[in-house]
C-alpha cells in the first residue's frame, strides 16, 4: 500500500499509521526513563484505570447504563481479546469458535457453584480454567493438523456445537440457563440488602456537573463486597485478573515459547526444519488461549447478575472477539486490549446507534482487512517490516504497480 501513488486513498490510512507511530513514541519515551520513574508511572496509570468507574470522567461515562457495568464488560472483552490474541496473533491460528471456551468456563462455574454443587467461586475458578484448557487440547489435538483455513471452519462448528449442546442437555440447565451462580467471596462480610453494603469500607464516587466535580456520598461502593447491586467490585476483580494475565502474556511472549509461536506463524515448514515442534506449540497456544477464554467466562458467569443461558453464547460474539483482535492489531497485546475495549465500549456509549453496530463492525472488518490488515496497533515488528518494504519499493521505483 504505497502512499505516494494513491493520493485519494492515502488520507484514510495516514491517521492510523500516525496512531501507530504515536504509540511507538510513547513506548520509547517510557522505556528511556529510569526504573524508579517507570514504576511510579505504571503505578499511577494502573491506579487511574482502577479508579475510573468511581471518577466517572465526563464525556466517556455512559449516561443511560451503569458505568461500572460497562467497565466490567470492557475488562471482560479485553481479557478475551488478550487470550484470543495468543491464538490468532502469536500462533496465527484463526479460531472462530472462541465463544465455545468462554461458554465452557462459564458453565463449569455455573454447574459447580449453583446448579449441581455449591462450591465457593474461588474454588470453581481454577477448575473452570483447567476444564477449558483440557477442552482446548481435546479440540485442538485433532484439528490443528488440518489446514489453516479449515481450522477456522472447524472451530466455527465447535462454537455452535457447544451452544446447541448446552441448549439441549437438561443437566446443564437446557434453554432456561443457570441462575444464582455464586458471587466471588466477599471480604469483610457480604452485602445484606437493603441496608448493609458489606465489604471492608465504603468508597464514595465523583459526580460531575459539567466540568466541576463533586463527591457523591449517596452512591458509595463497598470495597471487596460482591453483591447484585454494584458492578464496580467485579470490575476491580476482573481488572486484577487482566493485569496478571498481561504479565504472564509478556513473559511468555518474550520466552522461547513466544519465539517458537512467531516462527510457526511466519513459516511453519521453515520452523519445523529449524527444530521447532510446531504442532506442540500450536496446541499449547490453543490450550492457553482456551484457558484465558474459560477464565473470562468464569468471571462473567459469577458476575453481577449471576445468570447464564445459551443465548449468552451466540456465535456472533465469536466474530466480535475476532473483530476485536484484528481491529486492535493481531500480535500486539495492547492492540488486542484496545480492540476489546473499543468493541464493547463504543456500542454501549452510543446506544442510539446500537442497532447499527454489527453493520458498522462488518464494514469496518472488511475495510480493515482490505486496507489495513495489520490493525490499529500492529506489533512493532510488523510495522518495521512494512516500512522496510516501502523503502525497498520506493528505491526500486515500483510503487505504481501496486495500487
Amino acid at each position: 500500500m504505497s502512499t505516494t501513488t494513491a493520493p485519494s486513498k492515502a488520507p484514510s490510512v495516514r491517521p492510523l499509521r500516525r496512531l501507530g507511530l504515536w504509540w511507538d513514541g510513547v513506548v520509547d519515551r517510557y522505556n528511556r526513563q529510569p526504573l524508579a520513574i517507570k514504576i511510579v508511572e505504571i503505578f499511577l496509570v494502573v491506579a487511574l484505570v482502577y479508579a475510573l468507574p468511581l471518577l466517572r470522567p465526563p464525556v466517556i461515562t455512559t449516561q443511560e447504563i451503569d458505568f461500572g457495568g460497562v467497565m466490567f464488560g470492557c475488562a471482560a472483552y479485553a481479557l478475551i481479546a488478550l487470550g484470543l490474541n495468543i491464538v490468532i496473533g502469536y500462533a496465527g491460528l484463526l479460531d472462530l469458535g472462541y465463544i465455545g471456551f468462554y461458554a465452557t468456563g462459564a458453565y463449569t462455574v455455573g454447574v459447580l457453584t449453583s446448579y449441581h454443587w455449591h462450591w465457593p467461586f474461588f474454588l470453581a475458578l481454577p477448575l473452570a480454567i483447567a476444564v477449558t484448557m483440557v477442552t482446548g487440547v481435546i479440540l485442538g489435538a485433532p484439528t490443528l493438523r488440518v489446514r489453516g483455513d479449515y481450522l477456522a471452519i472447524v472451530t466455527l462448528g465447535f462454537g455452535e456445537i457447544i451452544r446447541i449442546c448446552v441448549k439441549n442437555i437438561e443437566w446443564l440447565g437446557a434453554s432456561s440457563g443457570i441462575k444464582d451462580i455464586a458471587h466471588p467471596n466477599s471480604i469483610g462480610g457480604g452485602p445484606q440488602p437493603p441496608f448493609d453494603r458489606g465489604g471492608l469500607f465504603d468508597i464514595p464516587r465523583l459526580e460531575w456537573n459539567g466540568l466541576v466535580p463533586s463527591v457523591d456520598h449517596d452512591h458509595p461502593t463497598a470495597f471487596l463486597s460482591f453483591g447484585a447491586i454494584d458492578a464496580v467490585p467485579y470490575y476491580w476483580l476482573l481488572l486484577t485478573a487482566l493485569i496478571l494475565v498481561l504479565v504472564a502474556d509478556r513473559l511468555i511472549k518474550a520466552s522461547r515459547v513466544g519465539r517458537a509461536w512467531e516462527a510457526t506463524r511466519e513459516d511453519e515448514d521453515a520452523a519445523e526444519l529449524m527444530g521447532v515442534p510446531t504442532f506442540k506449540f500450536k496446541l499449547l497456544a490453543f490450550a492457553m488461549g482456551a484457558a484465558i477464554g474459560g477464565m473470562s467466562g468464569a468471571f462473567y458467569a459469577s458476575g453481577q447478575s449471576g445468570y447464564i443461558s445459551p443465548d449468552s453464547f451466540l456465535l456472533l460474539f465469536s466474530m466480535l472477539f475476532v473483530a476485536a483482535v484484528i481491529v486492535g492489531g493481531a500480535g500486539n497485546r495492547w492492540g488486542a486490549i484496545a480492540g476489546g475495549v473499543l468493541v464493547y465500549y463504543l456500542p454501549e456509549r452510543f446506544r442510539e446507534f446500537a442497532d447499527y453496530r454489527l453493520l458498522v463492525f462488518g464494514m469496518a472488518l472488511t475495510l480493515l482487512a482490505v486496507w489495513r490488515p495489520q490493525g490499529l496497533l500492529p506489533p512493532r515488528r510488523a510495522r518495521r517490516v512494512q516500512r522496510a518494504e516501502e523503502e525497498i519499493r520506493e528505491l526500486e521505483g515500483e510503487g505504481a504497480t501496486d495500487v
Binding site: P142, T143, R147, A369
Partner: protein, 338 residues
C-alpha cells in the same frame, strides 16, 4: 439415541433417505459457490451464505410484487409462472451480490496476493455487513422516506423477524417410497438441482470460458501467460456461484417458504461442509457431498432427535477433515478433464 427409528424398518430407512436427498440437492447447489471460488482462488468465500440469503428474499419479494401480501395456498402448477420469474430475479440478485462481494471484499486482496486468513476475515466482515444490511432494511428505507411505500418489502419494525413468502406452495403427493410421500415439489427441487449442476459441469468442461477457469485453477500464472484474463475468470467464478445460489434460494423458498436475515449462516456452513465432503474444488464432488450430507443429517436427526441435526452436520465436517481432508471425490477444479 434411537437406532430403531432409523433401522427399525426398511421403510423408515428409505423415507429418511429420500427426505434427505431433497435437502441435499439444495446444499449441493449452494456448495457449488464455495467449491468454484475455492477451486480458482483457494479461498473460503465465507460470505457466500449471504449471497444465498439475498436470493431467498428476492423470491419472496417477487411473489409479493405479483401477488400482494394476502396469504394464499397454491398448487405447484399455478405457481410455476411466478416461480420462473422469481428464479430469474433471485439469480440476478444473488449474482449481483456475489459480484459486489468480489469487488469490495476480495479484488484488492487477490491482486496483492494477501494471506488467506486476511481474505477470510474480510469475507466474515462482508458477511456480517450484508446480513445486517438486510436486517436493517426498514431503517434504510426510512432514511429515504420510503418505508410506507415499501412496507410490504421492508416490513418496518419487523425486518429482523421471519419473512415469509405470501404464497404457500402446496406439495402434491405423487407416489410413496417406503412411507415417504414423494411430492411434485421434491421432484422439481431434485430435478432442477441436478439439471443446473449438469449444465455447469458441461460449461466448465466444454466451453472456452470453462477452459479458462480450469486453467486458472491449475496454475494462475501460466494461465495468465497463455492469455487467460485472470481477473475476468475470478469475476465469472463469483458470478456462477451467485447464479447457482440464486437457483438454490428459489428451490429453498419453494420447499420451506420463509427466510430471515440470518438464514444464510447455518445453511452456508452446511453447504461448505458438503463442498469439503465431496472434495472442495470439485464440481461433481459438491453434488455428491451435498446429497450425502443431506441424507446423513436426516439419518442423524432420526437417531438422535431433531434438535441435534446441526450438531450431526458439524461433527461430520470435523470427522471428514480429520479422516479424509481431500473429500470423497478428491479436490481440484483444474483436474477436471474436458
Amino acid at each position: 439415541m434411537d437406532l430403531g427409528a432409523l433401522f427399525g424398518s426398511f421403510d423408515n430407512f428409505l423415507s429418511y433417505t429420500a427426505g434427505g436427498l431433497v435437502f441435499g440437492a439444495i446444499y449441493a447447489l449452494i456448495a457449488l459457490g464455495y467449491t468454484m471460488v475455492y477451486g480458482v482462488l483457494q479461498l473460503i468465500n465465507f460470505a457466500h451464505s449471504e449471497v444465498f440469503m439475498y436470493g431467498t428474499f428476492a423470491v419472496a419479494w417477487t411473489f409479493i410484487f405479483f401477488h400482494g401480501t394476502g396469504d394464499a395456498t397454491w398448487s405447484l402448477g399455478k405457481a410455476i409462472p411466478i416461480l420462473l420469474v422469481a428464479l430469474v430475479v433471485a439469480m440476478l440478485m444473488s449474482a449481483a451480490v456475489a459480484l459486489l462481494l468480489e469487488r469490495v471484499a476480495y479484488r484488492r486482496l487477490i491482486r496483492n496476493n494477501s494471506p488467506k486468513l486476511i481474505a477470510l476475515i474480510s469475507a466474515i466482515g462482508a458477511s456480517f455487513a450484508l446480513a445486517e444490511a438486510m436486517g436493517l432494511r426498514d431503517r434504510f428505507a426510512a432514511w429515504f422516506g420510503l418505508d410506507d411505500d415499501l412496507a410490504d418489502y421492508v416490513s418496518p419494525d419487523k425486518a429482523r423477524d421471519v419473512y415469509s413468502n405470501p404464497v404457500t406452495i402446496q406439495p402434491h403427493e405423487l407416489f410413496t417410497i417406503g412411507g415417504y410421500g414423494v411430492t411434485d415439489v421434491d421432484l422439481v427441487v431434485l430435478g432442477a438441482a441436478l439439471l443446473m449442476m449438469l449444465a455447469l459441469d458441461q460449461f466448465v468442461r466444454r466451453t472456452r470460458l470453462g477452459r479458462g477457469i480450469r486453467a486458472t485453477a491449475q496454475d494462475p500464472e501460466s494461465a495468465a501467460l497463455m492469455g487467460v484474463n485472470s481477473g475476468r475468470v475470478v469475476q465469472i467464478t463469483f458470478l456462477i456461484g451467485g447464479l447457482m445460489a440464486g437457483a438454490a434460494a428459489t428451490l429453498y423458498m419453494m420447499k420451506i417458504g420463509s427466510t430471515r436475515q440470518n438464514a444464510g449462516f447455518i445453511l452456508g456452513v452446511k453447504a461448505f461442509t458438503a463442498a469439503v465432503m465431496g472434495g472442495i474444488g470439485n464440481l461433481r464432488g459438491a453434488l455428491v457431498g451435498g446429497l450425502v450430507l443431506g441424507v446423513m443429517e436426516n439419518w442423524g436427526s432420526a437417531v438422535f432427535g431433531q434438535e441435534w441435526k446441526d450438531v450431526v452436520a458439524f461433527v461430520l465436517l470435523v470427522l471428514i477433515l480429520l479422516v479424509r481432508p481431500s473429500g470423497i471425490l478428491g479436490e481440484a477444479l483444474g483436474k477436471a478433464r474436458a
